[in-house]
Each structure stands twice: as structure tokens, then as C-alpha cells.
């Protein structure tokens, strides 16, 4: 149960007490992305001038598929958090701010779902 004055909550006064989580998540995902972008560079080297058979076989390998899924999810999560801060800092129109916030979150979630499905399709040979 919250001990906070409900009127203050209704007026949106004070912090939401979620800043530390956002800050930490942004950095933790950044740290993870250093490793995952390292894999992405390895993948780019491996797939340069590759034909379709080579590319689909590469992504279909379980280890590469795992890396690619983790990269897509972490990347879009990190992007979602970053774009949120940019919107909060520079978009001062209240309606536009909420709409862009919603679109950035929805876009990231949609991208994650789409990416995971296609990696699984290649990995499981469906």
C-alpha cells in the first residue's frame, strides 16, 4: 500500500520512482550490445557476398540464431528506452508526445516479434 498522498499522484507531482530502473536498463542493454554487435560484425564478415543458401544456412545455425534473436530483442529494447528519453526531452506537445511514446514502444515490440518469428523459421526449417 502506498503511503503517498493520493492528491499528489493525481497531479503528477514528484518522481515516478522508476528512474533508476530506466537508467540501469539502458546501460545493461548497452553492455550486452557491445558483445552482440561484435557478433553482428562477425556475421557481416561471414555473409559479405554470400548467396541465399549460405545466408539462410548461417542464420539457421542454432548459435547464430540465438545470437540474432538476442541482438534483435536487446537492440530494440535499448532503442525504445533511448527514443523515449529523446521524446521526453524534445517533444513538448502533450498529445504528440504520448502518440510518439506509444508508437516507439509498439514499433519495438512489433520488431521483436517479427524478428524472432523469422529467425525461428530459418532455424527450425519451417
Amino acid at each position: 500500500m502506498s503511503m503517498r498522498n493520493p492528491l499528489a499522484t493525481a497531479r503528477g507531482l514528484g518522481s515516478a520512482k522508476e528512474g533508476v530502473h530506466h537508467w540501469y536498463a539502458q546501460r545493461a542493454s548497452a553492455l550486452l550490445l557491445i558483445v552482440l554487435v561484435g557478433w553482428l560484425i562477425y556475421a557481416m564478415v561471414s555473409l559479405a557476398n554470400a548467396d541465399h543458401a549460405v545466408a539462410s544456412a548461417f542464420i539457421g545455425q542454432p548459435l547464430n540464431a540465438a545470437f540474432l534473436i538476442l541482438l534483435i530483442v536487446t537492440m530494440l529494447y535499448h532503442a525504445m528506452l533511448g527514443v523515449q528519453v529523446v521524446i521526453e526531452d524534445y517533444v513538448h506537445h502533450p498529445v504528440l508526445e504520448v502518440v510518439l511514446y506509444f508508437l516507439s514502444r509498439a514499433g519495438a515490440l512489433f520488431g521483436m516479434a517479427l524478428g524472432i518469428i523469422h529467425v525461428l523459421k530459418l532455424a527450425l526449417g519451417a
Binding site: A30, H52, L68, I72, A79, M80, V86
Partner: protein, 161 residues
């Protein structure tokens, strides 16, 4: 608006906790209102108030490259994946589109943004541990990031194009 809320809040606190003896707080509200109006705001780093500095320009570039990677880079990676998944025909269509000059430009811009955001992001992570925050080190690290960006972008372009 801020002062209005303050005033309202003070009344509310007073009534609720029946601290009528604290009423002398009320005359100070006009004083608070004055102060709120005169309170100096920190101006935005880009604009007429500050001389452009390498550190501030790299900071805003970090955000700009992050937004570019979110809007263009991530969809590009997903497009590549989906084209592979959809079969040889869509894969070759994608390669043809990316092989043209507009496609090459988008790929090059994405790799440039990725290189900068990756290396400058590491600089930010070091700062987050409380290290390298003095002006001189921050600028030296900034120059290293810029040099590294040129090298990494060139290497990646050599690999991909």
C-alpha cells in the same frame, strides 16, 4: 503554473493536518512566486548561449545517431533477415536494392552511425563508472572515439560494399 500548484499544495497540507499555527507560511508564497519566476534555467547546450564544444556536439550526435539507428538501422537489419527468410527471390531483390547508389548511401550512413554510437557509447559507460570525467580526458577520449569511428566505418564499408 508551478507556483499555483505550490500555493494549492500549501493550503491542502495546512487544512489536512490542521497546522493552523503554521499560517505564517502563507505570506511567504508571494516571495516564492517571485523566486520561481526569476530562477535561472539551464539553457540548452546547442544554441546561442554556449559556444559549441566538442563534448556537447558529440553528446547531441550520440542521440542523433541513436535515433537514426532506431528508425533506419534496426529496420534495415530486420529487412535483411526477412528477405533471407522469404527465399532466394526476395533475398536477391534486397541485394539489388541495397547495391544501388541510394541503397549504398543508406548502408554507409547506418554503418557510420553504428560505429560512432558503439564507440561513444563505451565512452559514456566509462563516465557512468565515475571515471574520465575531467575536461581534458573527456576531450582526449572524444578524439579517440572520432578516430576510431573513421577506422571502424572504413573497415565495415570495406567488408560490406
Amino acid at each position: 503554473m508551478y507556483t499555483k500548484v505550490l500555493e494549492h499544495e500549501a493550503f491542502y497540507t495546512l487544512n489536512k493536518s490542521r497546522l493552523v499555527s503554521r499560517l505564517p507560511i502563507l505570506p511567504r508564497l508571494s516571495e516564492m512566486r517571485m523566486k520561481a519566476k526569476q530562477r535561472p534555467l539551464s539553457p540548452f547546450m546547442i544554441g546561442p548561449y554556449y559556444k559549441p564544444q566538442m563534448t556537447s556536439l558529440m553528446s547531441i550526435t550520440h542521440r542523433a545517431t541513436g535515433v537514426f539507428l532506431s528508425i533506419v538501422g534496426a529496420p534495415l537489419l530486420l529487412w535483411f533477415l526477412i528477405a533471407v527468410s522469404n527465399g532466394p527471390e526476395s533475398y536477391n531483390t534486397m541485394l539489388a536494392l541495397l547495391g544501388g547508389w541510394p541503397g549504398k548511401f543508406v548502408v554507409a550512413a547506418t554503418l557510420l552511425c553504428l560505429s560512432f554510437h558503439l564507440l561513444n557509447g563505451i565512452r559514456h559507460l566509462v563516465w557512468d563508472t565515475g571515471r574520465a570525467l575531467d575536461i581534458k580526458t573527456a576531450q582526449t577520449a572524444g578524439l579517440a572515439v572520432l578516430a576510431g569511428t573513421v577506422v571502424l566505418t572504413a573497415v565495415l564499408l570495406g567488408v560490406v560494399l
